[in-house]
């Protein structure tokens, strides 16, 4: 007993019932299968000697457009003969259209066949019927017979045409060079025939089912063992799938947080609405500094005013601004105005958060950082938004120095994936020395400024009760996301295209 897949089984049964060879085309039609599937099944059966294949070559003929015209109206050279007869046996070529139904072009094209068949003689412009032409009967020549036979059929094989009495060799010789009369093509006929073994095996052959999907049911009853799984085209493409993702910029923020957490920093926060005191005064920012002006900083009308910290601290800051207080410095030499310190603003930097943290606990060793939104009164364009993110950090440590500030910044940017840095002198009112950090962007082939840093001046730390060096930095973060994702417009971050959010790779 043999087991066969569905197509093989059905093919074998069909062949076993047929007395002799059956054409593949017929089998395909009978089984409702594509010929290629029939041949695939046949190959398997042939391997097992259950059938044999045979192939017969033949030529297939079809009439063409011009040939159809010849069949309908007769060959033009025959019409010329009739025309010449009507003209008394001869005519000049230009006059010929008057005697037959052909135009000069058709006449021109048929002349060489007329002469070749020996029906007329041409001398210059004159055509004269030969005796053979005079005597030409209505009996069709082999070429005419072929065209007539083809005109009655969609197509015909060479065997069929010969059976119909067509002298194919003569016809093809005559029609050689008459493009558009007919077409012929070499073809083959494939036959399958069951072998004796096949015929013997057919009655007892078992069908093996072929399925698309494995089902729970098949697993439960074990029938998966009796079936075949139809193979898929495993090289075929599929619809793209996108996971739900956190925002590309969020990934930069989270990476930034992770890096500082890894380096032993404690995360802190401060409110968006901040007093002038913490945003500016505690940082020794002079009260007439341009950054404090209305056109650069968002002042708020509600809440109307902020409370100041305990008097002792306010007085220390006042004295520092006015004459340096106990800081060893000279101060700004103006009269400090408490009402400006009470004014609420949207914080202009996250240094407001770190300086607050310093005031809350100035005792070393401490390392804190804040990743947060800051506000500047900027008109929205491709480079500027009124809200953006910064990471600020401070290190309060008696061993801290400007060199360890540079080392910390370098460690941060290395962890963010950069390996070339430049530190350039800069100025900030609250740090000394001050530095700007540039990182090398391979993609831009340029140095890009990432932010500022420095050692807090004694004018900042002393009034807050801190006597050790405090390293501080404030770094921009949007630029990192923009470079990673080749954004040219900062607004793409905050007014995001959902397709971009889908496609932005998590690995960046």
């Amino acid at each position: 007993m043999i087991t066969l897949r569905e197509n093989e089984y059905r093919l074998l049964q069909a062949l076993a019932q047929a007395p002799g060879p059956v054409q593949v085309a017929q089998l395909a039609a009978a089984l409702g299968l594509d010929q290629s599937l029939v041949l695939a099944a046949a190959a398997t059966l042939e391997e097992r000697d259950l059938l044999v294949r045979d192939e017969q070559s033949y030529t297939e003929y079809r009439i063409d457009a011009m040939g159809q015209g010849f069949a309908d109206h007769g060959l033009p050279e025959r019409q010329v003969v009739q025309g010449l007869r009507a003209a008394g046996g001869s005519s000049t070529i230009p006059e010929l259209p008057q005697h037959c139904g052909l135009n000069p072009g058709e006449i021109g094209q048929c002349l060489r066949f007329l002469v070749a068949k020996g029906w007329a003689l041409r001398q210059g412009k004159d055509l004269t019927l030969t005796p053979a032409g005079q005597a030409l009967s209505d009996e069709p020549g082999p070429d005419e017979a072929l065209l007539a036979a083809l005109a009655q059929r969609e197509q015909a094989t060479d065997a069929e045409l010969r059976a119909a009495g067509v002298d194919l060799d003569a016809a093809e010789a005559l029609l050689q060079g008459r493009k558009g009369a007919y077409r012929s093509k070499a073809r083959s006929l494939r036959f399958l025939e069951a072998t004796a073994a096949g015929r013997q095996a057919a009655p007892t052959a078992q069908l093996r089912r072929q399925v698309n999907m494995l089902t729970g049911e098949m697993l439960a009853d074990g029938s998966w063992r009796d079936v075949d799984f139809r193979p898929y085209d495993m090289s075929a493409g599929t619809e793209p799938a996108f996971p739900g993702k956190i925002h590309p910029f969020r990934r930069v923020l989270e990476q930034t947080r992770r890096v500082f957490l890894e380096m032993g920093f404690e995360e802190i926060v401060s409110p968006f609405v901040e007093s002038g005191f913490w945003d500016f005064d505690a940082l020794f920012q002079p009260q007439d500094h341009p950054a404090r002006e209305m056109q650069d900083t968002f002042y708020v009308s509600r809440p109307a005013s902020c409370e100041l910290p305990p008097t002792e601290l306010v007085e220390a800051v006042r004295n520092t601004h006015q004459d340096g207080g106990d800081t060893g410095g000279l101060g700004w030499g103006y009269t400090w105005d408490e009402s400006l310190a009470r004014k609420p603003v949207l914080r202009t930097h996250t240094t407001a958060a770190t300086v607050r943290a310093l005031a809350e606990n100035p005792n070393p060793p401490r390392k804190v950082f804040c990743v947060g939104k800051v506000f500047r009164r900027e008109t929205v364009d491709y480079k500027h938004l009124p809200v953006f993110y910064q990471v600020d950090g401070i290190i309060i440590d008696k061993h801290a120095s400007f060199a360890s500030l540079l080392g910390t910044l370098e460690a941060f940017y290395r962890k963010m994936g950069f390996d070339k840095f430049e530190f350039r002198p800069a100025f900030f009112p609250y740090t000394e020395p001050s530095v700007e950090i540039f990182v090398w962007f391979e993609s831009k082939q340029d140095w890009v400024e990432m932010g500022g840093a420095g050692v807090f001046r004694p004018e900042v730390t002393k009034p807050l009760g801190c006597d050790v060096p405090v390293l501080a930095w404030g770094l921009g973060l949007e630029r990192l996301a923009m470079f990673r994702h080749q954004l040219t417009d900062i607004r793409q971050i905050y007014v995001a295209d959902l397709q971009w959010l889908k496609e932005a790779e998590l690995c960046r």
Binding site: I246, E266, E267, F272, H399, E432, V455, L501
Partner: protein, 613 residues
């Protein structure tokens, strides 16, 4: 920050040796200059008033003189092209006005490159003139009490020098003067005055008349009163705000009544510097003596650098019984601890090495003991307020690029804020459901935050005093406006769309600053055949993953279709807290945000849920 163009020729001819442009840029960067690059500027001079302007290759020549207002179209012969000038463009470093001009910048570079050492010396001649300061200048009627003056003789005027003087004056006004408020500079032709005795006094608004700079002295109508200067003269109109609240206006004149200027507004035409001028009278007026004195020192030492042949003389300034002599080049003396400098900068050094570094920054230094040096800083330095400023000078001289980066050796324990942990859990939950995180602006408007959402306006939000646009007038109290605006701009993308945000909302609170942030999560789904059930499921999943159950209770909430809104309660151990809301958005809300499909939204206040901010 303004950008200046330092003529390369004027700079390099003051330095020894040949520096390539790259070397020059690198040295400038190492001493703190923010170099933008090289450029070519064309100088155009007004031969009527002597004003020189610089234009780039892409700019058209001026059609009128900005100083005297002459129309070049009618008088083309008065506009003279002085030719091209190759310059280094850099941002002004506001704290180092002594490096604003090629003379001062070269002075710093020469020290840094060890072509000179220590503090440069400037000869100062005996006082040639005297200024009496009316005590009334210190009263509230005319509060501009401070003045510092100098006399410069043997001046040779050429176009380069004039242009550098004009630029320096303008930049000092910006950096030290805060746009003339704290200090304003005047330069006059000494020969146009009696050259000896001057008065600085308040003048009544209509007490006298003078011809302001740029007006035609031949024109009888050109002599105008101080009040008219403020009302009519372009500079008067521009700077009138500086004298707002003044009952009388500052006036500088000689003892014969020749007006030099009405500080800080305008000089007189009569004392204008011309091509024939060989001596300057220079004044700086302002609000305090320290600033005007520093400003004068920066100006006159730079002039000496630009033209070493100048003879500089002091001027006696008489404040009541007190007589000061300006300019005063007495150095600023500070003691500096060597170990503290080494510790602060992280650069190992001894006293000798520190002396070398500070010498290169133009300071004279004396070793008092192995741990202490005494620094005499040049009088033109304006930024030395504290010994740490000298430590920075030492670090710059050493070169930031030569400092070996280290890490603090102390171990500390890091830790994240608990609300960030919660936010991370929420993000991983909702992205796990296939939703996309968005980040939207926290600035919004009443129109978006209340009206468009059909929510009643309340007063418990932060309102901006001077918004920059109508779309950004307040801090958001809900995530809804940003979420829906995201959908507004994504109409071209495939539907359905599912987005969420975890972010801050701000409320007024009884805290020191009067406002605090809360943390919220909100999400919205938009598309055909979507509904409240989907957002409820997401809200439920969010609460579940945070350890809470959910109960929703239908409620008539204005943002949602009637009968399709609900209040979200978080449930745990018999406890129920109201934490948010959800529902199918009202068509009027969809219209307000220009949305073309139905949408459902939820928002949960994580601060209420967790007690964390």
């Amino acid at each position: 920050m303004p950008v200046i163009g330092i003529p390369v020729k004027l700079l390099t001819e003051r330095l020894e040796g040949d520096l390539t442009p790259d070397e020059l840029v690198q040295h400038l960067q190492h001493i703190g200059c923010d170099v933008e690059g090289f450029a070519t500027l064309r100088r155009i001079k007004c031969t009527r008033c002597g004003n020189i302007v610089e234009i780039t290759a892409t700019m058209d020549p001026p059609v009128l003189c900005k100083r005297c207002g002459i129309d070049y179209v009618q008088h083309p012969e008065l506009r003279v092209d002085l030719g091209e000038n190759h310059v280094i463009r850099m941002e002004l470093l506001a704290v180092r006005p002594d490096m604003f001009d090629p003379g001062g910048l070269a002075r710093t570079l020469r020290g840094y490159l060890e072509q000179t050492t220590g503090s440069p010396e400037y000869d100062l001649g005996a006082p040639l003139a005297h200024v009496w300061v009316d005590p009334a200048m210190a009263t509230t009627a005319c509060p501009r009490p401070a003045i510092a003056c100098a006399v410069a003789t043997n001046v040779v005027l050429d176009d380069d020098f004039i242009k550098e003087l004009m630029n320096l004056q303008e930049n000092l006004h910006w950096a030290l003067g805060r746009d003339r408020k704290h200090a304003s500079i005047g330069v006059y032709d000494l020969a146009a005055t009696n050259g000896k005795a001057f008065r600085y006094r308040p003048v009544g608004r209509d007490e006298l008349r003078f011809v302001p700079l740029g007006y035609d002295p031949q024109d009888p109508a050109a002599a105008i009163t101080p009040q008219q200067v403020l009302e009519e003269h372009p500079k008067g109109v521009e700077f009138a705000r500086l004298l707002a609240g003044f009952e009388a206006y500052p006036l500088l004149e000689d003892s014969d009544g020749v007006v030099l200027s009405m500080p800080p507004i305008i000089n007189s035409e009569q004392t204008r510097v011309t091509d024939a001028t060989t001596s300057f009278f220079i004044d700086v007026t302002g609000t305090n003596r320290r600033i005007v004195s520093r400003c004068l020192n920066v100006l006159v030492t730079s002039l000496m650098e630009l033209q070493p042949g100048i003879n500089l003389h002091q001027v006696g300034i008489q404040y009541g019984d007190e007589v000061l002599h300006t300019p005063d080049f007495a150095p600023q003396v500070m003691e500096l601890s060597v170990p503290a400098t080494a510790g602060w900068t992280g650069i190992p050094m001894d006293a000798v090495e520190l002396v070398e570094l500070l010498n290169r920054m133009g300071h004279d230094v004396e070793i008092l003991d192995p741990d202490t040096v005494r620094v005499s800083a040049p009088a033109y330095r304006n930024d030395l307020m504290n010994p740490v400023d000298l430590m920075e000078d030492a670090a710059i001289a050493f070169g930031y690029h030569n400092i070996v980066p280290t890490l603090v050796p102390t171990m500390t324990v890091g830790g994240e804020r608990p609300i960030e942990g919660v936010s991370g859990t929420v993000r991983s939950c909702i992205t796990g459901l296939g939703w996309a995180e968005v980040m939207t602006l926290v600035l919004t408007s009443e129109a978006k935050c209340f009206e468009a959402l059909r929510r009643p306006p309340h007063q418990a939000y932060v309102s901006l005093a001077h918004p920059i646009s109508r779309d950004q007038t307040m801090l958001r109290t809900s995530l809804a406006p940003g979420l829906l605006e995201t959908l507004t701009v994504n109409g071209h993308n495939k539907y359905p769309q599912r987005v969420f945000e975890v972010g801050e909302t701000t409320e007024l609170t009884d805290t020191q600053t009067g406002a605090s942030e809360r943390r919220a999560v909100g999400g919205v789904v938009i598309g055909e055949r979507i509904g409240a059930t989907e957002v409820r499921a997401v809200a439920e999943a969010t609460l579940r993953e945070l350890g809470w159950g959910i109960r929703t209770q239908g409620a008539e909430l204005p943002s949602y279709l009637p009968g399709r809104g609900a209040i979200i309660f978080a449930v745990k151990d018999g406890l129920e807290i109201q934490v948010g809301e959800l529902g199918e958005l009202h068509p009027a809300v969809l219209e307000a945000f220009e949305l073309k499909h139905p949408a459902a939204m939820f928002e949960i206040d994580l601060t209420t849920l967790t007690g964390l901010r």
